[in-house]
């Protein structure tokens, strides 16, 4: 189980950009993140955010999908941001479950996505985890946290997953779901357990679609992949 530090104190204050058109939410997120030791800049729309980003890139961006009068302004912003920096971690905040599908494909290059139901501590944890992954990627390999299950290999430190040695691009949420399943093969994890593991509040349907997408991602590498098995009425399990 990956430890979930409620906060980490970075050597230098990381800059987080929050792009959210709802002022109250924006300030709440900013306050919480500031409390966790980040410096936070907030933007209400794509235009002001883009102007700021062109001057100075943040260390992490939290972007709402619908921005003021642009229903999918967040997507455009993400694409532009990704064009400016390939490594910058991006977290999407969605109000609608339906948006999850569009975002979670990660075709836009987002690293994670959360519904707005997420609690602030969860959000902070998610942010911390992302920073940790980046830090881990910069450090030399540390095998201690690596879980291997057949063709699967999970690096808990770098939060990276490979299948047959090929990397699988999973979002953070998906990573933790796979992690929770693969740590105890054969054990059925119900949806609540998976949600707890991923530190998200999702409904059953969303878990189902996450699982479906994860299978698809593995199947892109190995068409015969069927290690994630559905146990109807109960949940899912990892089969070796």
């Amino acid at each position: 189980m990956v430890a979930m530090p409620s906060a980490i104190i970075p050597s230098m204050k990381k800059l987080i950009a929050v792009v959210e058109d709802e002022p109250a939410l924006r300030e709440n997120y900013a306050a919480a993140l500031a409390r966790h030791g980040y410096s936070v800049k907030t933007y209400a729309n794509r235009k002001t955010a883009m102007q700021a980003f062109q001057n100075h890139l943040p260390d992490l961006a939290i972007i709402d999908i619908s921005l003021e009068d642009e229903a999918e302004g967040g997507f455009d912003l993400c694409r532009d941001l990704r064009a400016m920096s390939a490594e910058l971690p991006i977290i999407f905040l969605t109000a609608r479950d339906s948006e999850l599908d569009a975002v979670s494909g990660l075709r836009l290059g987002a690293d994670d996505f959360l519904t707005k139901d997420v609690s602030l501590p969860h959000l902070a944890a998610r942010v911390a985890a992302l920073f940790r992954r980046i830090d881990a990627l910069r450090r030399p390999d540390n095998a201690a946290e690596i879980v291997r299950r057949g063709a699967l290999s999970i690096d808990g430190e770098k939060m990276q997953t490979t299948w047959d040695g090929k990397p699988v691009t999973l979002s953070l949420t998906e990573f933790w779901i796979v992690h929770a399943l693969a740590r105890n093969p054969g054990h059925v994890k119900n949806r609540q357990q998976l949600m707890d593991a991923a530190n998200v509040v999702l409904d059953d349907n969303t878990i189902t679609s996450h699982i479906k997408r994860m299978r698809r991602k593995f199947q892109q590498i190995d068409p015969k992949f069927d290690a994630i098995q559905t146990v109807y009425g109960m949940g899912y399990r990892w089969v070796e």
Binding site: E22, A32, K116, V201, Y232, G233
Partner: protein, 679 residues
């Protein structure tokens, strides 16, 4: 009452046509009758005027205006159609009238009748005298006493001659007259030209005599004497010099009258005493038989009531009735009467003959009313048949139209009844909406209503999703604010309130989640992928899961032994099962069992989930699967929006199946059956 029946009742009003026909026929009959009356009256007037101009052709003695007086011995001479036999009986005279008593009776009674045939005058006397006193030989009426009848004739030249009838033995006799013999003695001699028959009867005797017409002028006197007493009756020329007149049909008048009248009419001319002077024609139309034949069943519906018409009175020598009386009083008059014989309808009209300023007689015409009736019947039967035909046609047309109308309305009603199907779907098109009439307008009204209902239903259906989405942001603000508040380092007593607020938001969260569930299912249905999978296996795994998830409920699973492959989305089917089982758990009593059963039947799988809970009220069977339909009274704290079974229906229909709610055959609880097609 159905429209068809109502319209048929309305169609009854077309019966007014035959009724109007009857009324018309009656009016027609009245009008025809009136015109016939006036025509006949005109004819009568014309004939009367024509005859008034030639009184010598009408009256034997145009100057004699004194009225008929039987008391003075006046006699009416009946016209006989043929010569009778001289036998003492007048049966062969064929006259309906009885003989009249002789005037001036004195202890004796006798009746007489006078008639004429060809060139003879006939005299008939019947005397009530039970004792026959025969005439002795060489008798003389003034000297001897015997039963005797005296006859005084006034010859055409004005001279008078005395005769008497008597006999020693009844039988054929001749009249006797008194002649002055050469010896100065009066003697009775027979006049052989005046023949008579003396018939002795139980009541007296009859005398039937035949007198040549050439002997008879305008008067005669009759007297009867009893031979054995002083009985006497009748008048002689001395006692009544003005009496003894003979009233008879005027010779030649019949043929004269015949030139005036048309067929079917009888004309009679009477003098001031209403005695017949001449008659011609015959009104007995051949219509009697025809009208018998043409008697139609509806005649009694339309004919004018004739029972109040007076009966025609009939006498052989004189005319009676209102018309004749009025005419003799100087007024032309027409009247409908019923014939004495067989009640046939007759029209009578009489016009006065005025000669020299005084009414001297009348012309009386009779005509059968049957012709009229026939005329009317022909017109009316035509009319009647036509109106009946029209009424029948109207009935048929009405019936057809009503049937068509009620068919259209029934179609509309059926469509309206089934517009909202049991699964809550709304059919928007109505039959008849293309019609231009009111039914079309009604159908279009229905369509508009249904369209609005559909919008409303759609709105309600998406309301959950919309609410869940719209409320999510403010809820998130509240929650994130609470998160921040908590992180600010609260005092313990403050923390209580934050915890409570958090509990509240948690509940709000689950409510929103439930509200949005249906919308999310619809969303995931759009993206679902079909695979072939074993339904039995899914059921077994699921039930195992439910046993863990609901440790207080008992589950029973019955499936076929072999795999049951279906094509579908296993996640959605599992979700369907989740909802059914959750529902069953909610309603199942603590010790009850939830039975899940899978069967194959007629190309389908039947997935039945039943529980021991209370049965479903029949009124709810169809509605349970509607969106936002919720009947249960909060048995737990969980929010219920009536979306669970709606999701069941969505998933079942997505798989080409259906969902039905019912009660178990044993009445023990609710039974939900899902039909899913075999591969």
């Amino acid at each position: 009452m159905s429209i068809r029946l109502q319209l048929l009742i309305v169609a009854l009003t077309t019966l007014v046509l035959p009724w109007a026909g009857c009324q018309y026929a009656r009016e027609l009959e009245t009008a025809l009758r009136d015109s016939q009356e006036s025509a006949l009256l005109a004819s009568a007037g014309t004939i009367a005027n024509a005859l008034s101009a030639q009184p010598q052709l009408v009256f034997r003695d145009p100057d004699d205006t004194a009225p008929f007086a039987a008391a003075r011995g006046d006699w009416y001479v009946f016209a006989l159609s043929s010569q009778p036999l001289l036998d003492g009986y007048r049966d062969d005279w064929g006259i309906a009238a009885a003989p009249l008593p002789l005037p001036a009776a004195s202890g004796y009674s006798a009746r007489a009748q006078v008639a004429s045939a060809d060139r003879y005058l006939y005299l008939y006397v019947e005397v009530d005298d039970t004792h026959f006193d025969p005439e002795p030989s060489n008798a003389h009426p003034e000297r001897d006493r015997f039963d005797r009848i005296d006859l005084t004739l006034q010859h055409p030249d004005g001279t008078r001659e005395f005769y008497f009838f008597a006999t020693g033995a009844p039988g054929m006799i001749a009249a006797q007259s008194i002649v002055n013999g050469g010896d100065g003695q009066d003697r009775a001699v027979e006049e052989p030209r005046i023949q008579a028959f003396w018939l002795q009867t139980a009541a007296g005797y009859h005398l039937e005599a035949r007198i040549p017409a050439s002997f008879v002028g305008s008067r005669l006197w009759i007297e009867a004497f009893d031979g054995s007493g002083n009985g006497k009756i009748g008048l002689d020329a001395v006692a009544a010099p003005d009496g003894g007149r003979l009233f008879s049909m005027t010779p030649g008048l019949n043929s004269l009258l015949g030139t005036f009248i048309r067929a079917g009419t009888r004309a009679t001319v009477v003098d001031i005493n209403a005695l017949k002077l001449g008659t011609a024609g015959n009104f007995v139309a051949d219509g009697a038989a025809a009208s018998e034949q043409g008697e139609s069943w509806y005649r009694h519906l339309i004919s004018v009531d004739t029972s109040s018409f007076p009966l025609q009175s009939f006498a052989p020598d004189r005319l009676e009735g209102n018309s004749v009386r009025a005419a003799l009083a100087g007024q032309p008059h027409a009247e409908w009467v019923r014939g004495a014989a067989n009640q046939e309808l007759l029209l009578t009209a009489a016009a006065p003959m005025v000669i020299g300023g005084t009414t001297r007689g009348a012309v009386f015409l009779e005509q059968a009313g049957d012709q009229l009736l026939e005329l009317r019947d022909r017109a009316v039967s035509h009319l009647f048949n036509l109106t009946l035909l029209a009424t029948g046609a109207a009935f048929i047309v009405m019936f057809g139209f009503a049937t068509w109308l009620s068919l259209r309305i029934a179609r509309l009603r059926d469509a309206a009844d089934s517009a909202v199907s049991s699964d809550g779907k709304i059919r928007l098109d109505m039959p008849e909406s293309a019609s231009a009439d009111e039914i079309g307008a009604l159908a279009r009204g229905f369509e508009r209503l249904l369209a609005r209902l559909n919008e409303h239903t759609q709105y309600l259906r998406t309301l959950g999703g919309k609410l869940s989405h719209e409320l999510r942001t403010p809820l998130t603000i509240v929650r994130s604010s609470l998160d921040n508040l908590e992180s600010e380092g609260l005092r313990d007593e403050q923390r209580h309130f934050v915890t409570r607020a958090r509990d509240g938001t948690q509940r709000l969260q689950s409510i929103l989640s439930a509200l949005g569930a249906a919308a999310r299912v619809e969303e995931s249905i759009k993206q679902a992928e079909f695979v072939n999978f074993d339904l039995c296996e899914l059921l077994r795994a699921a039930i195992a899961g439910y046993r863990d998830g609901f440790p207080h409920s008992n589950f029973a699973l019955e499936t076929p032994a072999d795999p049951c492959f279906i094509r579908g989305a296993p996640d959605l089917v599992a979700q369907l099962l989740d909802k059914l089982v959750e529902n069953a758990v909610d309603f199942c009593p603590p010790a009850g069992t939830i039975t899940v059963r899978l069967d194959r039947a007629q190309g389908n799988y039947l997935l039945a989930v039943s529980n021991d809970g209370p049965p479903i009220p029949p009124a709810l069977h169809g509605r349970l699967f509607e969106s936002l339909f919720e009947q249960r009274q909060g048995r737990d704290d969980k929010p219920h929006f009536g979306l669970g079974l709606y999701i069941v229906r969505l998933v079942a229909e997505f798989h080409g199946g259906s969902a039905v709610a019912d009660n178990r055959a044993d009445g023990g609880g609710a039974l939900f059956t899902i039909t899913l097609p075999l591969i």
